[in-house]
Structures are given as C-alpha cells and as structure tokens.
C-alpha cells in the first residue's frame, strides 16, 4: 500500500474494529448442540477472521463523530457486516460468480457444501435484522426501526440485490458510463452509504442534517468501485486473496474499460478529495473517515 496522510490512524482503527467485530460475532453466534451446528459453523466461517471491515469502520467512525456509545455502534455494525458477508457467500456460488477463494481461503460452498452455503447466507441475512430490531441494541424503537428500514432498503431490490442483477446483465449487455455508475451505486454504494447513514441514525442526526455525510458516502462508494476495477485490472491475485480479471474475461464494461486506467485513476482521486471536502465542518475527530477515503485509492487489495 502506498503511503497517505492518516495511514497510522487508520491502521489502528482497522485493527481495533476487526477485533471488536470478530468478538461480537463470536459472542452472538455460539455453536448449538444440535444438527444446526454445521449451519452456525458456516456462518462463523464467513464472518469471523476475514475481510477489511470497511463497513463496520464507516459505521462506528460516523457514530463516534456524533457521540454514540461505542458498544452500540459496534453491535449495529455486526448487522451490516452480516449483510455484506451473506452477499459474498451467495455471490461466490457456482451459479453466480463461481469463485473458489475469498479472503484468502476457500469459499463457503467449497469449505462446506452448496446447500449449507445458501442457508448460511440466508441465516446471516435474517441475523442482521434480528440484531437491529433487538432492544438489546437500543432502547429506542424509532432508532431500531429506522436502522432496519435503512439496511433493508440498501440490501434489497433498490440496493445491493438490484445492483447484482444489473451486474449479471452486464455480461450480455454493453452498458454505458451512466448505467455502470448506477449499477455500482446500487451494488456496492448503497451498502457503504447505509454504513454511514446507520451511524447518523444512531447519533439521532435529523435527516436534513445528513447531507454532508451522504455526500461523503456517495463519493467514497464510487471511488471504492473505481479502485476495485483498477485493482481487478492491475492487481495481484495473492494480495487480493481472490481471482482477478474476471470482468474483462466476461466482456463486462467497467470504469477502466470505459474510461481507460489513467482517467479512472484521476476520477477516483478527485472523488476522494471531494469526499474529504464534505467533512470540512469537522476537526481531527473525523480523521479516521478522511484516512479511510484516502485508503480506498491507496490499497493494493
């Protein structure tokens, strides 16, 4: 990873949230003493000990800006990470991307079997909403139902799942830049946006006061996907822990194929600057969010 301002701050924040998320899943997903054990083992395999935890970091860093209790923010971040993890399990299935490696280890359907992988994804999906609706998260039912609505919208037809459908269509249709942008806003941008939004909901920030945070989230979401396309184009499979250059092989239009690598790189850098500008009203307390924006284009996986 190339150097960038705030790299140390971000590294410490990532290490911290990674440990908290692992501990949270470990506590909330004990292996039962019956035939469901295999299901819970598959769920744990998918959510513990892997992934950068970008969404939990976004959620907790936003919540911290607004003075939210850390334990509450971490608990809510398990919900969004469970949604992210379920989507990866289903995405990796033979009938979807048919991927063999994820986070440097065999994908869930290979480590277990396809039926268990489908069910583990489904169970993580339900788990996310159970966590958010549970009074153990927040005593305020309005907060709980706002969180559910936010995450449900970001993960369903008008968010991640809708984006994945467009992504499948991209293999046979030749999308233009506005359509690829829309696809990516749904497929990955919606959930990254939800991470920030959920932090704002926990912080009881009124919707009309969230404009700058939404701008930040939208910009880093798009930058994240452009950087992903660049990594897919130029990256190293070992560092990535997964197969690369599948989009080009499938004939899919990406930001890199549409813009060329140089213009894509410039566009990502511009979006990162713009994302950071949205945080102008904050002092050093927003340094983690600023560093995360820079990390997106500096990372090598």
């Amino acid at each position: 990873m190339t150097d960038f301002p705030g790299k140390d701050v971000l590294g410490a924040a990532l290490t911290r949230i990674q440990a908290e998320v692992d501990a949270g899943f470990d506590a909330l997903l004990p292996v039962p003493g019956d035939a469901r054990a295999r299901l819970v083992e598959a769920m744990r395999y998918a959510v513990i000990g892997g992934g950068k935890r970008v969404r939990p970091l976004l959620l907790t860093a936003t919540a911290e800006l607004l003075g939210v209790d850390r334990a509450v923010a971490v608990r809510a971040s398990l919900a969004i990470e469970a949604i992210h993890a379920y989507s990866l399990i289903h995405d990796d299935l033979p009938c979807m991307d048919n991927d063999a490696m994820r986070h440097g280890k065999p994908t869930a359907h290979l480590a277990f079997d396809e039926a268990t992988a489908v069910l583990a994804g489904d169970a993580l999906h339900a788990f996310a909403f159970e966590v958010l609706a549970d009074p153990a998260l927040s005593g305020d039912p309005f907060t709980r139902s706002e969180l559910v609505l936010c995450l449900g919208t970001a993960s369903g037809l008008n968010g991640m799942a809708g984006g994945q459908m467009m992504d499948i269509a991209a293999e046979t249709e030749s999308f233009d830049l506005p359509t690829v942008t829309r696809l990516q806003q749904l497929k990955t941008g919606a959930l990254l946006g939800a991470a920030v939004e959920m932090g704002a909901i926990l912080g009881k920030l009124p919707a009309e006061g969230r404009t700058h945070l939404r701008g930040y989230a939208r910009d880093i979401g798009l930058a994240f996907q452009i950087a992903d396309d660049l990594l897919d184009h130029e990256g190293d499979e070992t560092a990535a822990g997964k197969a690369l250059r599948k989009d080009a092989a499938a004939g899919k239009q990406t930001f890199v194929s549409l813009l060329g690598a140089d213009r894509a790189r410039a566009q990502a850098a511009m979006l990162v600057d713009q994302a950071i500008a949205h945080l102008a009203q904050y002092g050093p307390e927003a340094d983690i969010l600023r560093a995360l924006a820079r990390f997106i284009v500096a990372r090598n996986h």
Copy 2:
C-alpha cells in the same frame, strides 16, 4: 377435500386474502425500466398467483380478532408471505431439494435461471423487512421493530433456516420423534407461529396475554406438518402441484415413518381439537381460525 365445519367460511376467507395478497404484491413490486426488471419479474413470479396464503390468513384472522385495521394486517402479511416465498425459491434450488414444480408451475430457477432465483429469494427476504420497518405500515415504531424482531427470529438460525439445516442432516442421521418434532417446529412451525404473533403485535396484545394464541399456533403448526407427511405418503402429485414421496426416497424419518400412518392421523386430529380448545374465549369471530385448524387435516394438497 373432505367436508368439515366452517369450510364455506374458510373458503370465502381464503379467496379474499388471496386476492388481497396478489394485489398487494402487484402494487409494491412494479417492474422497473432498467436491468433489474428480470429480478422483479422473478420476484413477482414467486409471490403472485400461487400458494394457499395460509400465513397471511393466520395473520389477518388473528389481527381481526383484535380489531386491527384490515389494510395494515394485509400489508404485514405480505412480509411473512415474502419470507415464505423466498424460502421456497431457495429450497427448490438444484443444490437443495432440486425441485422442478411448485404451485403447479416450473420452479423459479427453471422459469428464469439459478442466479436470478438466488437473487430473487434474497431480494424478497430484504423486501419483507422493508415492508415491516416502513412507517407506511404503522405509525408506531415499537410495533414496527417488534414485527421485525418476531419475523427475523422465526426465519433465521433459531427458526426456519435452522430447521432447514436439520432437515438436510435428517438425510444422513436417523432422528427420533423428539428431534423430528423439534426440526418441524423450527422449519415450518416457527413461521406459522410468527403469523399469529404478528397479528397479536399489530393488535397490541401484551406478551403475557398471547399464551392461548401461541398454543393455537403451536398445535396447528405440528398438525400441519404431520398432515404434510401424510400427504407426502399418500397424496396425489397432480393435486399437490409438486413432487411427492421424496422423504421416503431420501431415507428421512418423518412423523409417518416414526408413528405409522394411523397414529400420525390420530395425533394430527388430536392437535386440531387442542388448537380449537385454545380459542375457547372467543365467539364466532374466531371461526376462521377454527376452520383453518380443521382444514389442515382435511386438505388434499
């Protein structure tokens, strides 16, 4: 179907709720003018114009006992039916039960393709929680988050998904009667119980006042599964609209294999009587719930 008291009342109630559920899904799932169209078409294929709508009937009939506005109860019933429909789509996949027919038409992965079927199930799963958390359902956030928690619990690891995992294990392990009972309580009983519970939540019935309704739901849930096993053992594939006798072929223990058909039939009849006894405090306003209990053992599919 053999005759039973209340058959006409139930028939009219089923016809009514079937039309309401179809109209509700039609209104909430318009086909978008982009590449998500195929996803929404698959969702609509799975939720419109098929199924007996037992869960929506249970929810709305319970809600009606408690004076809940009909439109609100119908809307909440779309959520539980969406969960039921998503579970059938995923259950029918080649890696799960590999079924070709459902409700008398090709299963979703055959009518569309496997990837679209996985995504349509996922999108219906998220849709269910969006519906429940939306202020359009209820202005009371406590009601909304209680509904989400109830449905999330009933569909996840400690409900339907957990039961499905046990069901897969049942192909290789030889379960005894208590374990088969537990499996079925999770796999189908939890969601039937949630239908009644969600009606009670909408009716703002305190948890301590729900004992009789929970007893009713538990008894009909078990009776429903015993009747399903009997139909699987003795039924007609054309009437069922799906393949039968797969459990026996897979060597799975069922209520019929463990008890024999005669004792299973007697047990189901006893449970139906017991379910109806739980409704003793109500007059004719509970006749739909009583007739539904009787229908469970009288139906031929």
